[in-house]
Symmetry: C2
């Protein structure tokens, strides 16, 4: 019999009513707002009432640089959460929401995989609880109000060539990347060039994920820069008067979503900012709520540790006052082989030498994470074809680095396959050895921050930044934005900006092509490569195969 | 003390948990999918299980031509539902959902008013259960797939000048009315002119409201015409392969929403198509479900009876096989005065003569409704300033027409103010005198159908339709669309196409400027005036005043 697919396993899940999951965390029924019988939001008033409780221990799951072989970061996050519960610890996981649009291009992604999944998987890949729709509405309300302001006399003297606020849709639609709007005559406004990004690229998404409460949300929305005048002075969202209405539109979306793992353990799934032009972590409010309700909170960050963990530490933890207790670095034998130079087609054959060679990538990530003062354990996410010698090679390498690697079989066995990892992680978190500190101080100049990340994390020789970019950074410092952290937008496939440079490359520099100020989210984006903020659909989009079958089940989405 | 505002009354409502409302209709808890504690969707499987049950009695609430004085059609629908329950009948109401976008222009509308409202009012004016967002996604997925098809080689040979499928947003955004898309070079496709409508104007919305189940929904979506080739042959949604994925996106949105009145009686709030280019009624699936679960179902149709009731009968009832048992025609003394020539500023003064004169409008609507074979009672929706003599004048006029007018005080007194009306309506519905028949047979030609509505309902002398439009109608007949009903898009303020011609005008003709085929929804739209499908925001949009106050309450939305 063929092994079950993720969707088959998810559909066979023995889901419990969501209130029973809430009960595990002590969430009373009036504070748990159901969306169907298997999803819920946690009420804002209840969240506010938790302020004085002690926090649980925060555990970050991150990974080596991703390869086409797959690392299973979310799968490990889910498996570890189930594993901690299985060894008697009260644990919750915190992961990101999925974007709707891309599912109609390529087949959608499960939340986890095998026997380490979050359900209801189909809802999570469709509208879920409507958070992304709310972000789309809030974002586009601001856009409409900007053009409306210009239409009715432009009292703010916005330079219509310098409106930076675009529109968004949660859809892969290349035709909207660049448009001319307000055509058709006087009644439709002043024609100007603009375009649409995908919703997850919205600064509103980043803000929703960093705001600590509704008041902070409104302030950050007001702080967003939406346009410039001819004298290049900024026009803020607050000047347009959209911040209040946007907050009203986002009121429900700010409440974290609660679902469950296949083993009926609590999973917060909330927010989903881009991991390149934004910080790529689930919401601060979900993480903080989970920390009040559980003794251990397992969360993840987008991409590999060079981007994901660095932003988690330097943006999310710094700004939200979070102090992670332990890090799990996910690696696979297959990915080690690819980092060691093996092609995807040849991954089936045992190749211990390639594993050893590829471990250089893993080693650098271990060092980097340790540099933040947080203890790290490596999880080897097990694949059926991994040989004992290959696994041992990874273990030996990690041991030589003064750390430890544990084989984890949650994909095949659920929590039963991950008790060793869970035990180690709990011990590490309980051990109190963490002494988290961000990589650089707030007071460092913006260009030095970029250089620090490039040199210390990526191990680049330096940064290439032309005079125009340096002047822009200086100008923002003069305007009071100098204390912000930087958000690096770089390929996830390499420490360098060349996606083909796997392993642990040296002798490269990081070119910064552009910098952007996300004044509401609170970071300066340094763009070091091509960044696509509105994807397109492939020639045979998945949508053409998606439909309800005769039993009312969704086909073609996975 | 000042009388309470609608929002104050709504916020003070003693809402019951939505399952208790479901219990009143015998909806089991596993079939009631909660959205928070006060909203729910009724599950599709449960709906399917009701097929063999007998239907309750269907009562339509319609109105005279609207005036700025306000008629209170929704308020009367809600009040009558509460009144029927108060006299011991098991009744439910069915109304439309509100559109999100316009609330950020002008202050949002309550669902009803005074002590005849549906709650939760704020949610209903914001995201509610996400139905409109789902429609937006489904509509725009098709749009993205059309441009994507063209981008990847245009195997269907679509003429890019003749793509009729636009995009939608639930937002008042005039800047998007007319755009040039796919700018920016080869990677973004072939530049072409297009634009956005507001979501409620989408044919997907009309289809959602007319489809009987998910299979019918998918078929209708597939039937939609999205573009034409150079030889003018149509390209269908089905050719693009979007119908299946759109159905998946609309799967939850197709399930009717259940909320409650202030008196805790069941209210289905589902769908909201335009009342001009579409038929302006709540969904067929909600109405049919309510008829299976309640003995009396009170529903309403958009605009005045010349548009709303006519489309309700000739489109919704004809196509869904519904047979209304009674009609309530809402009139107010103030609106009678305005129809009799009084200006809005002078409405405070008693003016029996003007009331008598304005009754001509009411009289024609009574005749029209009776022409469909359905018995009618007039509800005089009471305003505090109405004089006894004015009310009596309306009653006398209606009596002289062989019908009856009843004073209704639900706005001030809830169900206690409407028991007389409820008793009359129940007796009328139970009396079995209805013998519903649509105005024209399917087999009549499209141009004759338009002429029939214009002459028989509007009392026009005739229709002005140029040769090009007649040829277009003929072409559709040749293509097999001749049996469709017509959907008139005309001003709601007059029987004629001149909004200033109040009362019961004669001696006019109806100019048809354009015809459109909604092949999926299943009607031919005859446009007899200016139709705005993407509103703009005013110079001081309501959004600027909308915000959460210190107590977390929404200010400025109402």
């Amino acid at each position: 019999m063929a092994p079950k697919t993720d969707i088959e396993i998810a559909r066979a899940a023995n889901k419990k009513p969501i209130q029973e999951i809430g009960d595990k965390l002590g969430i009373p029924s009036d504070a748990l707002l159901p969306y169907g019988h298997d999803k819920a939001k946690v009420g804002q008033d209840f969240i506010n009432s938790l302020a004085d409780r002690p926090d649980g221990k925060l555990i970050l799951v991150t990974a080596i640089n991703p390869t086409p072989a797959g690392e299973g970061k979310t799968t490990t996050t889910v498996g570890l959460g189930d594993g901690l519960n299985a060894i008697g610890r009260r644990a919750a996981i915190c992961i990101r929401e999925a974007s709707l649009g891309p599912n109609f291009g390529m087949k959608g992604g499960a939340a986890g995989g095998g026997y380490a999944q979050v359900v209801p998987m189909e809802d999570m890949n469709l509208h879920f609880t409507g958070d992304f729709h709310a972000i789309t509405s809030a974002h586009n309300l601001l856009a409409a109000m900007i053009d409306n302001h210009i239409y009715w006399g432009n009292a703010l003297e916005i330079d219509i060539r310098r409106v930076t606020w675009r529109r968004v849709l949660d859809m892969n639609d290349r035709a909207l990347r660049q448009i001319t709007a307000s055509l058709g005559g006087v009644a439709n406004g002043f024609p100007r060039e603009t375009g649409f990004d995908i919703t997850v690229a919205s600064e509103v998404m980043a803000i929703l994920c960093l705001a600590t409460d509704l008041k902070d949300l409104e302030k950050r929305l007001g702080d967003m820069i939406v346009a410039y005048r001819r004298d290049k002075s900024p026009v803020y969202c607050r000047d347009i008067g959209a911040d209040g209405a946007m907050t009203v539109l986002l009121k429900d979306a700010m409440q974290p979503n609660l679902v469950q793992t296949l083993e009926n353990n609590p999973a917060f799934v909330h927010g989903g900012p881009f991991a390149n032009i934004a910080h790529g972590c689930n919401s601060v409010i979900a993480t903080k709520t989970a920390l009040k309700l559980a003794d251990y909170v397992v969360t993840e960050a987008g991409f590999g540790a060079d981007l994901g963990a660095e932003k988690f530490f330097d943006i999310k933890c710094r700004k939200a006052g979070l102090s992670p207790a332990a890090v799990v670095l996910v690696a696979t034998v297959r990915a080690m082989k690819m980092n060691g130079g093996v092609a995807k087609a040849d991954l089936g054959a045992e190749n211990v030498d390639a594993v050893k060679k590829g471990c250089a990538n893993l080693g650098r990530h271990i060092e980097n994470v340790q540099g933040f003062g947080v203890p790290v354990v490596v999880a080897i996410n097990h694949f059926a074809g991994d040989s004992a010698a290959e696994v041992q090679a990874v273990k030996d390498f990690v041991a030589a680095q003064g750390s430890e690697a544990v084989l984890a079989k949650h994909w095949a066995d659920g929590s039963a396959g991950v008790t060793e990892l869970a035990t180690k992680v709990a011990a590490l978190a309980d051990g109190g050895s963490a002494a988290f500190a961000p990589l650089y101080p707030d007071a460092m100049s913006l260009s030095e921050k970029i250089e620090t990340v490039a040199k210390r994390i990526y191990r680049a020789d330096g940064v290439e930044m032309d005079q125009k970019i340096r002047a822009q950074l200086k100008e923002w410092e003069d305007q009071g934005y100098g204390a912000l952290p930087v958000c690096m937008a770089k390929t996830q496939y390499s420490f360098s900006t060349d996606p083909n440079l796997r392993g642990a490359p040296t002798g490269f520099s990081i070119p910064v092509r552009e910098v952007r100020l996300s004044a509401g989210a609170g970071f300066v984006v340094a763009i070091c490569g091509e960044i696509m903020t509105m994807p397109g659909l492939p020639s045979a989009p998945a949508a053409q195969s998606i439909r309800l079958n005769a039993d009312g089940e969704i086909e073609g989405l996975f």
